[in-house]
Symmetry: C2
Amino acid sequence: MRSDARKNYDHLLSIAREAVAERGADASLRDIARRAGVGLATLYRHFPTREALLEALLRSTLDELAQKAADLQSSKTSDEALTLWLRDAVAFVQGYHGVVAVMAAALEDADSALHASCTNLRSAGENLLIQAQADGKARADLDGIDLFALIGALGWVGDQPAFNSRVDRIMRVVADALLASK
Amino acid sequence: MRSDARKNYDHLLSIAREAVAERGADASLRDIARRAGVGLATLYRHFPTREALLEALLRSTLDELAQKAADLQSSKTSDEALTLWLRDAVAFVQGYHGVVAVMAAALEDADSALHASCTNLRSAGENLLIQAQADGKARADLDGIDLFALIGALGWVGDQPAFNSRVDRIMRVVADALLASK
DNA sequence: ACCTGAACACCGTTCAAGT
DNA sequence: ACCTGAACACCGTTCAAGT
């Protein structure tokens, strides 16, 4: 990449980070380009789709979250690991309004720029779930996608101003449900 | 209302019903007016806000759902009533993409056209929850707003194509969590 | 190789002008 | 009393033209 292009790329990404934190996953791309002082087509050149932009923004965080699952798995009991990771995953999802809907779509769309990161994340959570199930600590009738859906649902709850203050409590209810013996 | 106005009103409402069923709660108002063969300002005259349109669309269904809660309360045991009503509420929410986010906002906004219907619905569910709690059949650490949030969360799950097939299962998990003894 | 401005086809919302 | 068309300020996406 040419150095002027690199500079635009980095600057766009940092402006986009602010915009997505403020406005959520469907922040105006036009506005991001404008605030970055760059032509709109330049944004499209670097990030051909919204998913590509979000992927560049979130990849490292998503990878860390997946890594965290592996770490917990080797350092905690399976039920603790699942509970603690759920808390981390929900905390992440809370940080970016609406991003989890995009991630849910990416899970099914192999062409999405976010597909690999999301599949990786699903798989990381799935491993925790499987271990807890094998230990008889988690409900046997759920899989990794259900776990992803539950995290997404908690993200949605947190995105609603009316419910935002209740996320922690509702998350505990969900955690209890996951870890029920049924 | 003049008879030509009444005709426009009714026709707009029936077109809007189709559009919202197809496209969800943020269906294009412009498109609704166009399909109804009416000027856009005519739509705004009859329904000054999107909430006003949704209210006209959903009021009777929402009232029925609240009534259903009362019926179940007097005909079933408290835990059965809560489970059955949850199922109905989730089925409703599934029918209209994104509508539950608007309803969540309306719960907090006393000026919203949907405020009364949503408060009424929350209150109906709350009664079922309180009864079940009094019978020691439901978790004591949740209230009517939490119940509303859980229904909304299940609506969100159903709105994601990747998760849609899992709604019933996840709803059962939530129901079990609600009815846990904790 | 990279960038820009303008174009196209959409929105929601408001308002002056018509009957 | 009711309706319409046009205007305004936004979108996302694409593409010819510039350096």
